[in-house]
């Protein structure tokens, strides 16, 4: 899975293979257990999840080869 912007800074990593999770919610729970600070940040305002490069709202079931990314609020331009 992938982290960007301040989420990557908080976690101290940008990319990692993590234990397969059945759903996004499970994955977040797992991340929160291992990196509590990241877990808190993932529930922060404006953080979005993308699964296989599609931004998703709410929970979603995952497969072992799902590519999950967490995106903090965007600031381009």
């Amino acid at each position: 899975m992938l982290l960007f912007g301040r989420l990557a800074e908080t976690a101290g990593w940008r990319e990692k293979e993590v234990t397969a999770s059945a759903s996004l919610a499970d994955l977040k729970a797992h991340l929160t257990q291992v990196w509590p600070e990241l877990g808190a940040a993932l529930n922060g305002r404006g953080v979005q999840a993308a699964v296989d490069k599609v931004v998703v709202a709410g929970d979603l079931s995952l497969t072992p080869d799902s590519e999950v990314a967490f995106l903090p609020p965007m600031s381009g331009g």
């Binding site: 404006g46 490069k53 990314a69 965007m74 600031s75 381009g76 331009g77």
Partner: protein
């Protein structure tokens, strides 16, 4: 490929020269350059997920092209380290009508600010830093296009 992400400084004028050439069917070319503000020694770092970011910017370009009836659009966006005074982003539009070309630049910039997967960190000359997040004004800028 009308969207590109570049890691080195680029010259907006050189890009405009190329874009504005052979437009005798078009008539109107507008552009917007966003430049890194700040004291000498300050800089930005722009994080991106290039293959995803490009796709999202291309989708914005398609939206703008349809909405404003554009003949052509190009977006060049820096990523990585950007020094004060360097161009961060260049948007160029070509259309039959001047208003469409200019409005499309505003539309694209408003959307790039908070709808393009880019993450900007400002480093002041004294070494302090902060992540930039969309402001209430940025969100109001977007509301304008929902009418």
């Amino acid at each position: 490929m009308r969207a590109s992400l570049v890691t080195a400084p680029f010259d907006p004028g050189a890009a405009l020269s190329a874009f504005a050439a052979d437009r005798s069917r078009t008539g109107a070319v507008a552009s917007f350059v966003g430049i890194a503000r700040g004291d000498p020694g300050s800089r930005l770092e722009l994080d991106a997920w290039p293959e995803f970011t490009l796709g999202r910017i291309e989708a914005l370009i398609d939206d703008a092209r349809r909405r404003f009836g554009l003949d052509d659009v190009a977006v060049i966006h820096r990523i990585g380290r950007i020094e004060a005074g360097e161009a961060i982003v260049l948007v160029m539009t070509a259309a039959a009508h001047r208003r469409a070309a200019l409005e499309a630049c505003a539309y694209l910039m408003d959307h790039l600010k908070s709808r393009a997967p880019l993450w900007k960190k400002e480093y002041a000359a004294d070494g302090t830093s902060r992540w930039v997040e969309p402001t209430a004004e940025d969100e109001r800028g977007l509301d304008r296009w929902d009418a």
